[in-house]
Symmetry: C2
Subunit: 229 residues, 2 copies
């Protein structure tokens, strides 16, 4: 059976792929330009123009297009590589529908070890890693956002659960202010910023001990975590 290889891409440091992946000729990618560049950087002698690419970084994801692409690869017994833009595909990144289709068509699915900012943030937070949840983005309207923050805090305390979410980087300062204004002083808050980069900063402390003016997370990719005991 052909395989679907879930291929990580770098989040900060360069990331070297295993050699056997250079045999793959069919790719589903979040961003065509980035994917080509990354593959070429890893496999200098790869004939990139002989490769087939399907881009899924579109507003309207065309399930039918994915179906046709995967079905053709299956008919030709071709392995497929799946790449998103930064980190592992399918986790806080697109790709899950491609994997779903792969299972349906009978591909063997091979997830590869690589960087995930969520996993790194959870490890580095010091919060509970035996029970945790990732919620994507919080709602933007202020009243809904406050309500969501409160409900995450309550659920964290009730279920002993670490709560992870992300924010569009230019809104980091605003959400940090909202978190500090809304959460209980004894609740723990972690911001894990620029993970894997030289500028990495991971601050994890109780809300009451945060001095937000000491930090500038503006426009820097960050993962937010809250944990209430």
């Amino acid at each position: 059976m052909p395989g679907l290889y879930l291929i990580p891409t770098p989040i900060a440091e360069p990331f070297v792929l295993p050699e056997y992946l250079k045999e793959i000729r069919c790719f589903v990618v979040e961003n065509l330009r980035e994917a080509r560049r990354f593959l070429k950087w890893n496999f200098k002698d790869l004939d990139i123009d002989a490769c087939l690419f399907l881009e899924i970084n579109k507003n309207a994801l065309d399930i039918n297009e994915i179906h046709v692409f995967m079905k053709n690869a299956m008919a030709q017994n071709s392995d497929v590589g799946l790449l998103s833009d930064a980190g592992v595909p399918c986790v806080a990144d697109p790709g899950a529908v491609v994997v779903e289709k792969a299972h349906e068509l009978g591909f063997t699915v091979h997830p590869l070890v690589g960087p995930s900012s969520l996993l790194l943030a959870l490890m580095a937070s010091g919060f509970n890693g035996q029970c945790f949840a990732f919620h994507g983005y919080l709602p933007i309207p202020e009243n809904e956002q406050i309500k969501k923050i409160k409900s995450l805090e309550e659920e964290s305390s009730k279920r002993d659960m670490s709560q992870l979410f992300i924010e569009t980087p230019y809104r980091n300062t605003k959400i940090l202010q909202q978190l500090l204004a809304t959460l209980n002083p004894a609740t723990r808050l972690c911001v894990a910023c620029d993970l894997g980069a030289a500028t990495q900063e991971i601050i994890s402390k109780k809300v009451r001990d945060w001095k937000p003016e000491k930090y500038n997370f503006h426009k820097r990719p960050a993962v937010f975590l809250i944990y209430a005991r």
Copy 2:
């Protein structure tokens, strides 16, 4: 400031550590024997007997012992390495209290990229990776287990959330039967088994399409995922 390095260990394939870690002389480890063997395998010329080790794989985790160990390392401006048994520390593995203490004492925390069976299983499931939760082990008494499975399924459907959990490997067959008997036929169930090993098997399909007699997960490490839409 000294650093706390969160050091991954192999889950199946050998895992090579970055060279700069061989300067570390203080380690907090889940299992002394395994940790020494793994460090020695990576760094042939490491004088392992000159290293300090604190084992945290004990029934009663002594927070005070961790505090003293970390405080001494801080006083000597020594970096500390944290290793658990398989995969990244602190995620479905002990270590979070060490990281919490490190933040408290002013260590810089450095999470390293490495294998996590949870992350690999989520990627490979084809389920929602924009919203997910990990719940550790389900309760063992049958009625409580059934109740928990049903509540996870309901929550999955309501919040569009992938639900991850694990089981003691010798109970895999039993929990699979319970899941198939309890879940809705249209709910998706994934079992990701022996991740990273040559025997890796990842089955992801609707409950109604499972033929449990085709699979034998007995005593093999596995991650279970459910996803109801």
